[in-house]
Symmetry: D2
Subunit: 334 residues, 4 copies
């Protein structure tokens, strides 16, 4: 019974069907096929705002190609100390941008606040001797499974705007956040000041495609060059575009995220006061002694040892109901 | 009737089936799944030599991540003036390597020869004021659809070895070359001095995965870091690995390349003395006046205007027999 | 009366004389002149250990070219949160290395300790998803004017060695540290595990040249290429080499640093319990209210507002004795 | 008797005196001193056009930092196959720009022509699969000692403008070109379409400072950040600025270049039909058999073997008259 990572989940039926449906005959290459060409429109409708959409092959590429389009090589990106771009992308922000730095802000549950951002850059000078912060990057939902409300996003958006910075969103689990909030996609993106985002599909039932969504057209111009140069413009673009279209147009994004969130919510109830952070998406972080962990593993549960005395559980769109029930029971019994 | 590019072809049934077969339940993430873990062994058997295999999402990534593992940022790569890495990868060799240069050698049909390589670096100095050539990159089959024989590869391998350089092969159409030659894979790779290659599958019936194959284990160590940092390590590795395994293990690589080559050969006969280069793989370059081109297009054929008075025709694994017949007839009639 | 920065001091007479003496007739270009060729030997004698010496034009270049020779683009450098490479080099570590990151360790007075280093990398994983720490960079004297003892350096050296990391020293004020300690140069460099260092001369009475000193010959090989490519190999190398040789061979390094340290020590006595850090080199950090600062400025003293309620005073080799006396008196009167 | 390189010449008296004069007391650091602050004005007067001037430590840095401010990482710079940035800067254009390529144009005496530029980019496409040419870089005087007339520069300027490219000038020997032409500096720079240039002083009697001169203010904004990050912003800026000011304000630039040109012209007469290129600055390229070379060396002349049967002679501002006479005589006798 697997609760290690949502990257281990399969692709959902709609994605598979879309890939199969795309596999007919010759079509335009790179971004010249009809599916890729529909992306801007479909996502524009989804967000209620004109946007440019680029398909890439991983969240790392989505995040860091996007950031590179907003930060000069001597610039800096303010993010949480726990941000995926800091912790789990092997230096990709510097690679894609030609050297930009990360400035780490503190905050509970990997959540940025305006105060934390201010503290992170307090005392920085605008002179040429220092790197120049110019992008704020937030993760929605955060790396600890917490969700920014529209007001929280907007507060960061205002702070960014006030400073002349850009606001970037790592939306690896954006669908989970959106389902949790029940708001319009616009409410936590462009309307709240987000200039560009990574819209993650792979963890939520996709196969191999992520999207960079650009809300400010002024930021889109370099991305075709950046993506091609980085080998992130698939030559048979249809298979990637098909996945994204399927997720959006069939509503699979919502159903999948809803299922994963619901499973996590159920486990959260069982976990009770072991919870280290509110459970608002599909991840749980729990206090668990070595004995607790061993007991869970003895019952057949797989999960990640997050830190001494802490474990991480992740649900996915396809986590079997029976596994969730069993784990909930096991957590209750601990 | 489409003869523009083999990137426009669909994925072949074996690839599709393998992707479907891979879509069952949870598996290890990134390169931790059973399919990805089988790659080294399967390709090792294919080549008759231990190798390390890395899956990436495009030929550009395969070529340039591989090259980056062999060339320092102040190094240089000797390649044909017509090489894909020079002409069609948007500066990716410099991007992935941190600045390495290309030194362009001349040669008929985009084919390197030892003499052309020597001429390209004649007069270069080994001092710190110049970039330092240290890799030879050849394309098999070449960008003009010509194939290096085992002896030709070996001659380049010897020249590289003699100079202390590495030999890299862009094998975007390696399967086509192999089918043309009918030799063992080893004969035109490691046995002939190739240290690392891009083994292309996408043009030959794949969907979205290419392989970097490393024959010299000393060159493999940095690639996991390079790939991850470049967003070229898919989080659901199984779908990419499945494609490569299917192509190799079912023999689809050979059947597909054989079909494309055969179609090209048939067209070559019809093209007669219009041919600008020998047709040894799945591309034809023809002399064609504007009137010729217009006539072909009027009959429903799509193709690429290569240069004034020259057109390019590309066949694929799934080019319909009827289209080939029709085009052959049309060419004969010109 | 100027106490803002030692970069504002003039060049000392020995340096000027050496530059004049070097200005005779034609000599070899780049590193081909007799002065440049003497650098390895003279510094080897100074340190009591064979070394390779490279002349560059700034401390930023010295630090970051050196670091780049020790860290891969996906690597990381552990340094103090207050380190010059983090705070005042505009992202140069990432620029020269092709993307390496800094991992910030805490510590009083910008001083690294083994515990702080361990804490900084605690929880980091050795997998490909994270940057890989592989260099420890310490500043001697620190950015707060404190000096590592030989034992403190050696402890860091052992920790680095144990982890398979390299130890780098930013010696922008190395001479000040050495004078403070009164030990042999070897005691706080190669003998204590330092693999490479920046030996700073400009702040200590030089004009325009800094040295990269490489103690481990295995690390020197790429630097000629790196330096040339970065425009950090002066075409008339003699003028830079002359400065370094003069500083070492005349003992100006020691006299100058001694003078600056003595001035700082005298001010430290006057500053009393206002001191925020021990004064062991040529910098003082003091508590000073806005009224205090205004009072000092009213008397003609120039200095740097370090932080709210804190000021920085820097002495130099040529700070006039009368200015030091006057400032000491003014500090006593506060 | 030395004719190998003008980098081997000493610094001229005005430069030395200016450095000495600058060596008084404390002054602002980095670019905060009065000398550095005068640069824009003095060069503005010299060129008859407002400009921004940045001091760096080498011609490589001047060229490639300037180019980096005009070309994106996926861009390309069109230059002569013999350009210094191609032949002798160790890949610095890619390093500073983050990956930009060079496109090599042919041309006699390393001189670009509009036709050669057009030929170099003929057949290039504007799509994302190719690097995008956006800067033309010319060397004045060329690497073969030839000088572009105002009309020739203007023709390149018009071609660049027509294409939306920028025009860059490597002016390592700009003073020699200017003296040869006897025109106003404006005639071969901004008035002829040059957007940015490297103004070389080191070869012409300077010591260690070169200038980047920016005529289009829109291009200057990133250079302070780029220069600092590259360690090319000297902390004691006065010594570098003093050199440039002395060269311009005393007219040493003109006298020095005039002397070097005159010496070369005299040798050119003696060389007669051995000359491979017109002698318009301070370099001569001659046909010389191995016996000829040996004969010259036997008489005490040092020079560079350019290619089989070809030698290069370079004069400098301080080449002794007697050496010139002797070499002229020796050439006549060959």
């Amino acid at each position: 019974m697997y609760f290690v990572s949502d990257n281990a989940a399969a692709a959902c039926p709609e994605v598979i069907e879309a890939v199969l449906a795309a596999n007919t005959g010759v079509v335009g290459t790179y971004d010249g096929d009809a599916l890729t060409q529909r992306l801007d429109g479909v996502f524009g409708d989804f967000f209620g705002h004109a946007c440019r959409v680029f398909v890439v092959g991983s969240g790392t590429a989505a995040n860091c190609l996007g950031l590179a389009a907003m930060v000069p090589p001597w610039g800096a990106i303010v993010c949480s100390r726990e941000a995926h771009i800091q912790v789990d992308e092997a230096g990709a922000p510097a690679f894609f941008s030609g050297g930009a730095s990360l400035i780490l802000a503190e905050g509970a549950a990997a959540k940025l606040t305006v105060d934390a951002v201010r503290a992170a850059v307090a005392g920085m000078r605008g002179d040429v001797h220092q790197v120049q912060p110019c992008v704020l990057s937030m993760t929605q939902a955060t790396e600890y499974g917490c969700v920014y409300t529209p007001d929280e996003v907007a507060a960061l958006g205002e702070e960014a705007k006030r400073r002349g910075w850009r606001l970037h969103m790592d939306g690896a689990r954006f669908a989970n956040a959106l389902v949790h909030l029940g708001c319009a996609p616009a409410d936590i993106t462009w309307r709240a000041g987000v200039d560009m985002m990574s819209f993650g599909f792979i963890k939520n039932g996709g196969m191999s495609a992520e999207a960079i969504v650009v809300f400010d057209p002024a930021l889109a111009g370099t991305l075709p060059h950046r993506n091609k140069r980085a080998g992130q413009m698939p030559s048979k673009g249809r298979y990637a575009a098909a996945q994204l279209l399927a997720m959006i147009e069939t509503g699979a994004w919502e159903r999948n995220a809803g299922a994963a969130n619901a499973a996590a919510a159920r486990l959260a109830v069982a976990a009770g006061d072991r919870l280290l952070h509110p459970v608002e998406a599909n991840e749980l972080f729990l206090r668990a002694s070595p004995e607790d962990s061993a007991a869970l593993r003895a019952k057949g549960f797989e999960f990640y040892d997050w830190a001494p005395g802490e474990i991480r559980l992740v649900t996915a769109w396809d986590t079997p109901e029976a596994h969730v029930q069993a784990l909930a029971a096991a957590l209750s019994e601990l």
